[in-house]
Structures are given as structure tokens and as C-alpha cells.
């Protein structure tokens, strides 16, 4: 009689979980190693921001007040009409400007 050794399902699952944990740990190590160089990687952005005294990130270029959300005034979104609804898609992602300092 030939005796066959079948791998148990629980062993397969445990091996898969260990592989998952290892992959996860490797990604965390990758994040740590790149994070250490974050300043260096973002150096050109920081240099340009410092030289040109930039106040905003270039994220949403579709409207003036979404390009520079930190500089926009409270009514910028309603400039077309006092009850005009926001019509730029990024307007729904960018909250209203913070209260002005007086």
C-alpha cells in the first residue's frame, strides 16, 4: 500500500498568513526607509516653495479658489451668484476657508 502525505489545509493557511505578515512587514520597512529620505525627495518642491514664497500645493487647477484654497476668500465659491451652488467637482472636496483673523 502506498502511503501519501497530503499537506493539511491548516498548514497551507498558516504558511499563507506568514507570507502575508512578511509582505506586510517588508512594506512597512520600505515605508520607513523611504520616509527617512522624505526631506531629500521633496527638496526640490520645498526649495521652489521657499524661493517663490508659495502658500499652496498644486492639487486642483480647475478654479482659482481651488488652486489656492488657503488664499481664497469666504465668498470665492459663490462669486457667480450669491446662491450659486458649487459647480467644480473639487469644490466638494475642499472645505470652506477658515475664519479670517481679525
Amino acid at each position: 500500500m502506498i502511503k501519501t502525505h497530503r499537506i493539511r489545509k491548516s498548514t497551507v493557511f498558516l504558511v499563507l498568513t506568514i507570507v502575508n505578515v512578511m509582505a506586510f512587514s517588508l512594506l512597512m520597512l520600505h515605508a520607513r526607509s523611504v520616509q527617512g529620505r522624505a526631506g531629500e525627495l521633496l527638496a526640490s518642491s520645498s526649495r521652489i516653495a521657499r524661493e517663490l514664497q508659495l502658500t499652496d500645493l498644486c492639487l486642483f487647477t480647475e478654479a482659482r479658489y481651488t488652486r489656492h484654497p488657503a488664499m481664497g476668500d469666504v465668498h470665492a465659491a459663490f462669486q457667480d451668484h450669491p446662491i450659486a451652488l458649487e459647480h467644480f467637482p473639487s469644490g466638494s472636496l475642499v472645505p470652506a476657508p477658515l475664519p479670517l483673523v481679525r
Binding site: R8, K9, S10, F13, L14, L16, T17, N20, V21, A23, F24, L27, M28, H30, A31, V34, Q35, R37, A38, L41, L42, A43, S44, S45, S46, I48, A49, R50, E51, L52, Q53, L54, T55, D56, L57, C58, L59, F60, T61, E62, A63, R64, T66, R67, P69, A70, M71, D73, H75, F88, P89, S90, L93, V94, P95, P97, L98, L100, V101, R102
Partner: protein, 376 residues
């Protein structure tokens, strides 16, 4: 010790066989679960990276920007304001900024035009503009000036590096002379004033002094600029709120569906197990492992896929949301920023509720008489 491990392994073996008996159902469950974890983890990774990059890039932003309002709208600032503000105690430097927006009709993009010390007739452009206009260094770009007479012919001196896209993708940097020519910008005025102060703790006092002196001035502090980006990328508002609600709601419906009942087949299975001598604790352990196998696998698959999606492929699934109607969109590679606290919260919010949601209905079924469980 070995006995306990062996017992768990045996029960795990049984639960895997039980999961494989309902292959299609459990595979689709795992796929949906992974998708939800992937969506939430991608958002967490994306937002924490953006938040960190905003902080790093804007750490050297001006301490304060002073705008001038005219009948409630932003207007140009006379340079005389700069002189008077510079004379205030605590102000180290006042730099008038000349900048504006240029609608580029051939491409339909909005460009941000800024000034720097450079020779007239030359410009530096962001790599987004270079892509949009298909122009590189030494090419000439034509911009329509506001006086509608002679278009401005400007030679590209440099294309800003790709790594600076998040700050400068849409920038066109030119000399003050060209800027004034392009926009017919009046002499003796600036767009706004950038202030550097000696002691950042005095910023709000200084802002008060400026408003007292110039009631039409609107000071914006650096902390407010940073807070703007904090609120955009905060988990409570902006992007997170919009995109997260759908994912969280679907997860709640999904867990609720599991928690509210067992199928007749599952109940019968529990009855049979109890009648052949399994104890309630064994049945609960079996269901715990069934829940843990699905949720743990979904968590790892989802988080690993999210990391690759955001940090290796620059979150292509979020791009349509961020792009909106923009013609010019920065292409940036994010620097990984993993918040272990947020990951821990994600683990407990996804793995723990699902695992317990599988145990509770089984506990109810496992505590009743096996005969009744099999007949129900």
C-alpha cells in the same frame, strides 16, 4: 501546550474545509471584504502621505500673507502698504508678491504665473505646463497679453524638475517686467505681501496691528494655510468624508447581514456537531476561525494592495476624483507615510467586528438543543 496548538490546528482544518464547501459564497465574501479594506486603506495611505507632504513643502511658506480687500473682493495692494507694514515692530521682511492666473486658451488649462528675479524674455515652467504645451527648454511659448496688441514670446529657460510637481506643476515663472506687460499690471502695486516676522509667536498681535492700520487688509497666517491643508486631508472632513462614507456604510451592511442570522444549513451543521459530541466552546472556536480566516486574509490582501496602489502606482483610482475638470493635473509620486495608529484602528474596525459578528449568531445556535437546531 502542544495539545492546545494541535486542537486549534484541527479546528482550523475543519473550518477551512467548511469554508471550502461553500466555495463561491466565501470567495465572493473575501473579494468584497478585501475591496472594502483596500478602499479604506488606500484613502488612509493617500491622505496621510498628502498631509505630510503639505507640511514638508509648506514649512517655509511666508509667516503671513497680507491681501487687500475692495468691497469684499480681493484687490491689488499698493506698495506703500509694504513700506508701512515693514516699519512695524517685529516685522523682519515684507516681500511684495506678483502673481496671477492665465487661462491658456489653446490647451484650456489654468496656469499660475509668478515672478522671480530672472532676465526678461525668459521663463521657467512647471513640468505640467511642459506636458500641456509639449514644450521643453529652449522652446518659445506665446502668451496673449492683456493689451491685445503684441503677443508675448517667451523662451523656456528651464523646465522645473518632475519631483516638484506637487508644488509647481502649473507654474510659469517670469520676470517682473514680462509679468507687468502680460497682465497690464499697474506700477506701484502687488498681488499681495509676504511677511517674515522675527518672532512667530507675535503673529496674531501683528495681524491685529495691520488690520488696525489698514482696515481693508486681510492677513492670512501660516498656521491657517497649514490648517487649510489639514482640514482637506483630515479624516473628519473634505475628501475623507466624501469617499469614506460609502465604504464604511457598505461594511456596516455587510457585517450586519452576517450578524443577524445563520443559514438553515449552518444551523443544521452546528446541530450535527453538537450531537456527535462537540462542545459549545468548540463550535464557537470553529466559527471564530471561520471569521478570522476571512477577515485576516482580507485585511492583509487589502492593505498590501492599497500600499502598492498608492505608493507604487500613485493612486490611479483616486485621480479622476482629484482631477475634476482640471486640464492640468500634477503627476506625483507619494512618499510613503504609514500611520501605525490608523492601521491599528483599521485592523480593529474591520477584523474584530466581522469575527465577532460571525460568533454571536453561532453562540445562539450552539446553546440550544442539538435536536432543535437540526430541525429548525
Amino acid at each position: 501546550m502542544n495539545r492546545t496548538i494541535e486542537r486549534h490546528k484541527n479546528i482550523l482544518e475543519f473550518s477551512l474545509s467548511s469554508l471550502l464547501r461553500r466555495k463561491t459564497k466565501n470567495a465572493s465574501l473575501l473579494a468584497i471584504y478585501t475591496l472594502i479594506v483596500f478602499a479604506i486603506a488606500s484613502l488612509l495611505f493617500f491622505l496621510s502621505a498628502m498631509k505630510r507632504e503639505a507640511l514638508l513643502i509648506l514649512k517655509d511658506a511666508p509667516d503671513m500673507v497680507v491681501q487687500r480687500m475692495e468691497a469684499g473682493r480681493q484687490d491689488l495692494v499698493p506698495l506703500s502698504y509694504a513700506k508701512e507694514i515693514a516699519a512695524l515692530r517685529g516685522v523682519r521682511e515684507v516681500k511684495p508678491r506678483l502673481w496671477g492666473y492665465y487661462y491658456d486658451s489653446p490647451s484650456g488649462g489654468n496656469l499660475t504665473v509668478m515672478t522671480a528675479e530672472m532676465p526678461a524674455g525668459f521663463i521657467k515652467i512647471g513640468s505640467g505646463v511642459s506636458r500641456l504645451r509639449r514644450a521643453t527648454a529652449a522652446d518659445v511659448i506665446v502668451l496673449q497679453s492683456y493689451d491685445n496688441e503684441v503677443p508675448l514670446m517667451l523662451e523656456i529657460e528651464e523646465v522645473l524638475p518632475y519631483e516638484s510637481e506637487l508644488a509647481a506643476a502649473d507654474l510659469v515663472i517670469m520676470s517682473e517686467l514680462d509679468f507687468r506687460k502680460l497682465f497690464k499690471f499697474p506700477q506701484g502695486h502687488a498681488t499681495d505681501l509676504a511677511l517674515t516676522v522675527a518672532n512667530p509667536r507675535e503673529l496674531s498681535t501683528l495681524a491685529g496691528k495691520i488690520v488696525d492700520k489698514f482696515p481693508d487688509a486681510r492677513p492670512i497666517l501660516k498656521s491657517e494655510m497649514l490648517r487649510t491643508y489639514d482640514s482637506i486631508f483630515d479624516w473628519r472632513g473634505g475628501m475623507m468624508l466624501v469617499m469614506m462614507i460609502a465604504a464604511v456604510l457598505s461594511f456596516i451592511i455587510f457585517a450586519w447581514d452576517r450578524a443577524t442570522g445563520l443559514s438553515a444549513e449552518e444551523r443544521k451543521e452546528i446541530g450535527i456537531l453538537k450531537s456527535i459530541g462537540w462542545e459549545t466552546s468548540d463550535v464557537l472556536l470553529l466559527k471564530f476561525w471561520e471569521g478570522a480566516v476571512i477577515s485576516l486574509s482580507a485585511f492583509f490582501f487589502g492593505v498590501i494592495a492599497a500600499y502598492v496602489h498608492v505608493y507604487f502606482f500613485s493612486a490611479p483610482l483616486f485621480q479622476p476624483v482629484l482631477k475634476g475638470w482640471s486640464v492640468l493635473y500634477p503627476q506625483f509620486k507619494l512618499v510613503p507615510a504609514v500611520d501605525t495608529y490608523q492601521l491599528g484602528v483599521l485592523f480593529f474596525l474591520t477584523v474584530a467586528p466581522y469575527t465577532f459578528a460571525t460568533i454571536i449568531p453561532c453562540w445562539r445556535a450552539a446553546t440550544i438543543d442539538p435536536d432543535a437546531a437540526m430541525r429548525s
